[in-house]
């Protein structure tokens, strides 16, 4: 069999990658999993300009050990921190979460508006509604889980 031309090889590889991505996206309603950890309903609230945006998701832990979300990263943002919105006496503020967010054994945690959220800072490229942005969550036991977060309109409830 004659060797494939380099261009044809690159083409073939691109096609394979596209198919893999398509399969990944089709299976995404099932959640993104890492052993007993499953990440679902991952989304980002779009805001115009260059300020931070918020990322939300549900993480389920089917194992018999608690797991801690300690950090997050993404090629699309320079820095991501774990934050919590706190209301005290009618005044609201956002605080950095020290020590990570623990998901109990056979439990789940939801990062949602008004509660825990990923603070996504310094976007590295233009982002628009409908984009799927890869974010990696890192856990206390050094495991990690990467999933696409869907960018939704600013007023999304």
């Amino acid at each position: 069999m004659s060797a494939l031309h380099p261009q044809q090889l690159a083409h073939q590889r691109a096609r394979r990658l596209n198919i893999a991505l398509l399969v990944w996206l089709i299976l995404s309603p099932l959640g993104f999993a890492e052993q007993d950890l499953r990440l679902t309903d991952a989304w980002i609230r779009y805001l115009p300009g260059s300020g931070p945006m918020a990322g939300y998701f549900t993480l389920s832990n089917a194992s018999d050990q608690p797991v801690s979300i300690v950090s997050a990263s993404s090629p699309a943002f320079e820095r991501i921190t774990l934050h919590e919105t706190v209301e005290r006496g009618g005044e609201t503020s956002m605080q950095s979460v020290e020590g990570g967010v623990t998901v109990t054994a056979s439990g789940s945690v939801t990062f949602r508006p008004g509660g825990y959220h990923l603070m996504l800072m310094q976007r590295q490229r233009a982002i628009k509604i409908g984009d799927r942005i890869e974010i990696t969550l890192r856990f206390g036991d050094n495991r990690s889980l990467t999933a696409p977060f869907l960018v939704k309109a600013s007023g999304t409830q």
């Binding site: 115009p48 300009g49 609201t92 503020s93 956002m94 508006p113 008004g114 959220h117 409830q157």
Partner: protein
């Protein structure tokens, strides 16, 4: 004698029937508890504006900042949802004034782009610290700046309530995070019909 009793009965019935008990508001009624809408600020075009420029519509006043990715857009999103529940004529009689308590970062242009993401009824206003403090003292609103991090980012804490004024600029309602969108929409619909 019997005619007198009959007349009394009729009068009482009429009086009871006419008792004008307005249904309770779904959100918190604070009529008369705060001063009328009053401020001197800068609008999204960089123009100086006062409360009089916003007379004639039901006005929702909310304090926040655009570098807030969670609670401010969540609140504005809830207001946008409530407004969408109204019929188009009522929607045209509602405006949301988003007053930035972060004038250092929130320029008029930035505010314009931000409020556009929530709807045409949303207007961003900014001001000097002096103008902001006059306004926030009036409505007993507090705000404060957090420590900047290594990159200079800082959070701003602020009151989470939304103040609702009627088209004449009188304070009427207080909206809180636990008010349902339906309750907010019902009260807004009622206020737009009131005048």
């Amino acid at each position: 004698m019997r005619q007198w009793w009959l007349a009394m009965l009729v009068m009482l019935t009429v009086l009871v029937g006419c008792s004008d008990e307005a249904p309770p508001w779904r959100t918190k009624d604070i009529t008369g508890l705060m001063p009328r809408l009053q401020f001197a600020l800068t609008d999204e075009q960089g123009k100086s504006v006062s409360a009089e420029d916003y007379n004639g519509k039901v006005t929702l006043l909310y304090f926040g900042y655009t570098f807030c990715p969670d609670v401010c857009p969540m609140t504005l999103g809830r207001l946008a949802s409530a407004i969408k529940h109204l019929d188009p004529a009522a929607q045209a009689r509602v405006q949301v004034l988003f007053v930035s308590v972060d004038p250092r970062r929130d320029t008029p242009t930035r505010l314009r782009d931000y409020t556009a993401a929530f709807g045409p009824e949303f207007v961003g206003l900014s001001g000097t610290q002096e103008q902001l403090q006059t306004l926030t003292k009036h409505y007993r609103v507090t705000y404060g700046y957090g420590e900047p991090d290594a990159s200079g980012n800082y959070a701003v804490s602020h009151s989470s309530a939304v103040y609702v004024f009627d088209p004449q600029g009188k304070i009427r309602l207080l909206l809180r995070d636990d008010d349902s969108i339906k309750a907010i929409a019902q009260d807004l619909a009622r206020l737009t019909k009131a005048s």
